[in-house]
Amino acid sequence: MPAPANSTASPAAATASNYLTEGTTLKSWLTTYDHKRIALLYLVSITAFFFIGGAAATLIRLELATPAGDLVTHDTYNKLFTMHGVIMVWLFLIPSIPSALGNFLMPMMIGARDLAFPRLNLASWYIYVAGGIFTIAALIAGGVDTGWTFYTPFSTMFSNTHVILVLVGVFIVGFSSILTGLNFIVTVHTMRAPGMGWFRLPLFVWANYATSIILVLATPVLAMTLLLVAAERLFGLGIFDPALGGDPLLFQHLFWFYSHPAVYIMVLPAMGVVSEIIPCFARKRVFGYRFMAYAILGIAVFGFMVWGHHMFVSGSSVYGNMVFSLLSFLVAIPSAIKVFNWTATLYKGSITFSAPMLYALGFVGLFTIGGLTGLILASLAIDVHLTDTYFVVAHFHYIMVGGAVMAYLGGVHFWWPKISGRLYPESWGRVAALLIFFGFNLTFFPQYLLGYGGMPRRYHTYPPEFQLLNILSSAGASILAMGYLLPLGYLGWSLFYGKRAGSNPWRATGLEWQTPSPPPTENFAHPPVVSTGPYEYEPQTGTELPQ
C-alpha cells in the first residue's frame, strides 16, 4: 500500500534533506544524475531560449505595425523570423514539456527512483546545450535567413548567411531529443512499480511515451536531411540542386517527413499535461480514459502519414495530394476525441479555477480553434489560397502558443509546489493566465483574417490595406509579452518568499503527490505498490476516494 496522502504536511518536512538541498555546489548540479535536477537544468535553459526567441518575435511585431520596412532592413527581418522559428521550435517547444516536466515527473508517476539511463539523461542536456551554443553562435555571427524550413535551393546555393552553423546546431540538438525519447520508452516499459499496469498510467505518461516514439523515429530523418543540405552547401553536390540534376522537392519530402511529426512532439505532451490538470480541478476522473490513451497513440501513428499537406502547391502530383489530404482529415479524429472527452470530464464535476485550470481550459478552447483551422487548411481547394499566408501562421500559433505554451505554463504552475516546495501567489497566477489568453487571441486571431485577405507570410513589408489588422496583432503581442514576463517575476519571487507547500496542496491523485515537496533524491522511501487506476477523484465530497 502506498504511504497515505499527506495533505497537511508540516513545514518541518521542507527542512529535511531533499533533492534540492543534497549538494549545493555548482558542480553537484552540473554532474548530477538525478532526473529532477536535470529537469531543472532544462527548465532554466529553455526559459532562456524562450525569451531570446521572444525577443525576435517582439522585433517582428514592432516592424509589422507599419506597412513599410522602417525598423530593420529586409535581410535583418528575414533573419529575425528565421531565428524565431529555429529557436522556438528546436530549443524551446520540442524540449519544453518532455525535458523540463517529463524528466521530473515520469519516474515519479510510475513509482521509479529515476529514469532507466540517468547518465544518458545528463548527456542529453549537455548535447542540448552544445546545440544551443552553435545556434546562438550563428545568431551572433550575423544570423541566418533561410527560414526555419531551410528550403532548397535557397539554403544550399543562394543564402549568404551562416547556414552551416545553424544546421550543425540543430543536428546536435536532435540527438538530445533522440536520447530523451529512448530513455522514456525504456523507462515506461521496464520500470513501472508493481501493480502499475499500462491502463493505470496517468495520461501524462502515455503522452510522453507516444511523443518519445515520434522523437526516436522522426528525428534521425531530420538529422540526415540537414547533413545532406550541409554536404550540398559545402561540396556543391547535386542532391537538391536542379542545375546538377537534383530535386528541390526531395528536400521538402525529407524535411516534412520529420517536421510534421515534430508538431505532434510539441502538442502531445501538452495534451498530457491538460489531462492531469482538468481531472484534478474538476475533482472527477477523465472521461473515457482508454479512448484518451488510444487517441494519443493514434495521433502519433497518423502523424507520420500526413507530411505531404505542407506541399499541396509545390508541384507534387494531384493524386498524391488527395491521399495526404484524406489522411490529414483522419488525423484530426483522435484530437477531436480528446477535446470532447476533456469537455465531458467537466460534466458533473466540482470545478475550481486555479491558474493551472485556467491554462488548461484555455488550451482546450484554443487548441480546438487551431485544430479546426487545420481542417480548413487540409481542404485541398482552400489550401491553394491559404497556404503560405498568415492563415497558416495563425493556425500553427494557435496550436503551438495557444496550445502547447499554455499547457506548458499550466504544468509549470501545477507542479511548481512539488518542484520547488513553495506555493506561487495564486492571484498573480490567474492574472497572468488571463492576460496571456487575451493577449494571445488579440495577437493571432487577426492573422486568420490577414491570411484569407491574401497577406503572404514572411513578408517584411506589405500593402497598406493590411495595416489595421497588423496593428491589432502587434497590440496583442505587447499584452502577451507582459503576460509571459509576469510568471518569470512571481515564480522567482516564490522561490524565496512563497509559502511552503505540503506534499499535496492540490489534493491530486498520482504517485508524485505521495512524496514530500520537494521530494527526496530517491523519490520514494519504499517503492510504491499500485492497486488503483489513475484519477480516482470523487466530485461530491471533493476528495480522492480512499486508497
Binding site: N78, Y151, F287, A332, A344, L375, I376, G453, Q540
Partner: protein, 316 residues
C-alpha cells in the same frame, strides 16, 4: 485601382466564387463546432463550479456509445469536407484546351512574363476577361510562388522544372500578384499586378509593344541556330527522333519505361539528354546545359507545340 482590403478579397476568377462558397461552408461548420465546445465548457464551468447545488450523482467516467457517436459523426462530416474540397481542387488542374498560354520565368526578385505573340511584361500580367489562361512557369534560381489572392490561386514556381497554373478571370480590374514562397532579401516586394481587360482592349494592347517575333518563331530560330535541326530533321544523316507533334505523344524509352512527353520531358532532354533515352536510338545527343536560358527553352518547346498543331491540321 488596386482593390481596397475587405474581409474577403475581390472574387475575380471562376475558381474564386466556388472556393468562397466552400470556405463559407467550412467556416460555418468549424465555427459551429468551436462555438459548441466553448459554450459547453463555459456552461459546465459555471453550472458545476464548486459549491453550486447542481446534481452530481452518477457522474460518468465514460460512455462507449457517446464516444463512438462523436467519432463517427466528425468522421462523416470530415469526409464530406474532404470530398468537396478535393473535387474543387481537381477542377483547378483541368484546363480547357483553348487556354491562352503565358510563359513565366521567376527570378530573384521579379516576374518575367511573355505572351504567345512575344509581348513581354515585367511584374505585370495583362489578361482578357473570360478567357481561360494557362501559365507555364519556371524559376531561374530559387523556389518562388505565383499567388493571386483575388483569383484564390497559387502555384510554386520551381527551378529545374515547369509548373502550370490555369485560371479564368471573371472581373475586370487590377489585382495583387504576390510571391508566396520565401526567396530571399526582397521576397516581400517581389510582387506586381494582374490587369484584367475587356477582350477588345486586350487584343489591342497585345499588338502594341511587340517588335520581336512571337515565341514559337523565336523558338524555331533557336532550333536552327543551335543545330537541333541538324539531327532532328527528316533529311539528316543522323538517326534522331522526330520531334514533330512530340508534346502529348507517348514515348517508349530504352529501359522499357513509357511516358507521355510534356514540357518537363523536353526540357530534361535538352539539358540531361542521357536521362531518358528513346528506345532504338543511341545516347549521342549532347547536352545544352548552360547554353540556353529558361526563356529560350520555353520558346523551343512552344515551337515544338506548334509543329504538333500543324501536323495535326495537315494530316486531316
Amino acid at each position: 485601382m488596386i482593390e481596397m482590403f475587405h474581409f474577403l478579397p475581390a472574387s475575380a476568377s471562376g475558381a474564386a466564387a466556388r472556393f468562397d462558397l466552400l470556405m463559407l461552408a467550412l467556416m460555418l461548420l468549424t465555427g459551429a463546432v468551436a462555438l459548441a465546445v466553448t459554450l459547453l465548457i463555459v456552461w459546465f464551468s459555471f453550472h458545476y463550479r464548486k459549491g453550486s447545488g447542481a446534481d452530481r450523482s452518477d457522474a460518468p467516467a465514460g460512455n462507449r456509445i457517446i464516444e463512438v457517436a462523436w467519432i463517427v459523426t466528425p468522421l462523416l462530416l470530415f469526409m464530406g469536407m474532404y470530398v468537396w474540397a478535393a473535387y474543387d481542387y481537381a477542377q483547378l488542374y483541368r484546363g480547357p484546351a483553348n487556354a491562352m498560354p503565358v510563359f513565366v520565368v521567376a527570378k530573384q526578385w521579379m516576374w518575367k512574363l511573355e505572351h504567345a505573340n512575344g509581348h513581354r511584361e515585367i511584374d505585370e500580367l495583362h489578361v482578357p476577361l473570360g478567357q481561360p489562361m494557362r501559365l507555364v512557369m519556371t524559376s531561374q534560381d530559387v523556389i518562388h510562388s505565383f499567388y493571386v489572392p483575388a483569383f484564390r490561386i497559387k502555384q510554386d514556381v520551381v527551378p529545374g522544372r515547369y509548373t502550370t497554373l490555369w485560371f479564368t478571370p471573371t472581373r475586370t480590374g487590377e489585382f495583387h500578384l504576390f510571391c508566396a514562397e520565401y526567396c530571399g532579401t526582397e521576397h516581400s516586394v517581389m510582387g506586381g499586378r494582374i490587369v484584367v481587360m475587356p477582350p477588345a482592349d486586350f487584343t489591342r494592347w497585345l499588338q502594341q509593344g511587340t517588335s520581336q517575333p512571337g515565341i514559337a518563331a523565336h523558338g524555331f530560330e533557336l532550333f536552327r541556330r543551335h543545330g537541333c535541326s541538324g539531327c532532328h530533321s527528316a533529311g539528316s544523316s543522323v538517326h534522331a527522333p522526330d520531334l514533330n507533334g512530340l508534346l502529348g505523344r507517348t514515348v517508349h524509352l530504352q529501359d522499357g519505361r513509357t511516358l507521355v512527353a510534356d514540357e518537363n520531358y523536353i526540357r530534361d532532354s535538352m539539358l540531361l539528354p542521357k536521362k531518358d533515352v528513346v528506345a532504338g536510338f543511341e545516347p549521342i545527343m549532347p547536352s545544352f546545359a548552360g547554353q540556353l536560358s529558361e526563356e529560350e527553352i520555353m520558346a523551343i518547346i512552344e515551337y515544338l507545340r506548334q509543329t504538333g498543331a500543324e501536323h495535326a491540321s495537315a494530316s486531316k
